[in-house]
Symmetry: C2
Subunit: 202 residues, 2 copies
């Protein structure tokens, strides 16, 4: 049996990414699909589309709808939600730290904790003290991880990953890419993306 | 037992409206929900958001994704799809004609025929001859209907309906509004909107 994989592109500032980050690991396990976590920054992608802020802020009717839709979906999934007092928050530090957790295998747990801080506890995820407390809560070596998160290698990895997002046509988050190149956009499509992978063994 | 209703706001030019127009009548019947058909024009709504064209044309990555997503969804629903050689087409005449069919009860059938012409047969739905042939195919009195469609009353009804769309915060189509004022946006949310209505008897 071949191992099926799915690329999961997400941004810690993104409201719909919150829903997918919280749900994806259990769903992927159930489907027998291995995840490739791809944190990236939406800011540069949005800039290339002419947006210097979240479209949910630029277009107020879209923003009002998004928060209501998010509340309905969070209730359905049984996820807590507190509309952040600041949106979008800067996800740069969280993304760099997350990347250091890919090889060590704690990126899922860390990402859920950061998303919970941002969207359920209204905490400032761009504050290094908040990220540190999250790492310590997971019993990880916060000093070593934060140092590594600021290394040129990790900075470069995130920069390249964000560039790559634009190159492969991403325009929002969460996005899912299958091994045969299908793009699925939005938390709505998480189940579809997993089903696509399962139906087409590589 | 009270009759449950759902407002269905759609635009004949809109690709995701195609999917919902084709599906909604059967799903609403099954759910015991009465539909209030609300054809409107997206153009003025988009203009108020600063878009002078479909966002799928303004933002090419979104457009490329939309056509692929639409193809996957059409295949799932068993609906034919031929990417229109012109997008978006002008849905003004079709919307006016559709409004004359609300009271007479043929708006659903007519809307499906127009959407099929636009998205499955690549026909020019802004051409009066195409609309006439659709009416004739439904064994309707095309002359009388087209005359009524050009009456000041129908023109004013569509104008007011489009204004209302902006006032109630619509920013795209299809959109669904429940009797208790919940807005659901997108073909993805059709089933959710019906379930919302059924779960909350007025």
């Amino acid at each position: 049996m071949h191992v099926q994989t799915l690329e999961f592109w997400f941004e810690f500032a993104s409201s719909y990414s919150y829903l997918s980050v919280m749900r994806i690991e259990a769903l992927a396990r159930e489907a027998g699909v291995t995840l490739q976590w791809r944190p990236f920054l939406l800011g540069p992608v949005f800039l290339s589309l002419g947006w210097n802020d979240s479209p949910f802020n630029i277009y107020p009717p879209k923003g009002r709808y998004m928060w209501r839709d998010l509340a309905r979906l969070a209730a359905r999934y049984g996820l807590p939600l507190q509309v952040p007092s600041r949106f979008p928050r800067n996800g740069l530090l969280a993304a760099r730290v997350a990347l250091t957790g890919v090889e060590e295998g704690w990126i899922g747990e860390f990402s859920r904790a950061v998303m919970t801080a941002n969207f359920a506890e209204d905490r400032e995820i761009s504050d290094p003290a908040v990220i540190r407390s999250i790492l310590e809560g997971l019993r990880l070596d916060a000093d070593a991880i934060l140092e590594r998160a600021h290394s040129p290698e990790i900075k470069e990895t995130l920069r390249r990953q964000t560039e790559r997002a634009g190159e492969i046509g991403l325009f929002g988050a969460p996005s899912f890419i299958t091994p045969d190149g299908e793009l699925f956009w939005g938390n709505d499509r998480l189940e579809d993306a997993l089903a696509w992978v399962v139906a087409r063994p590589a």
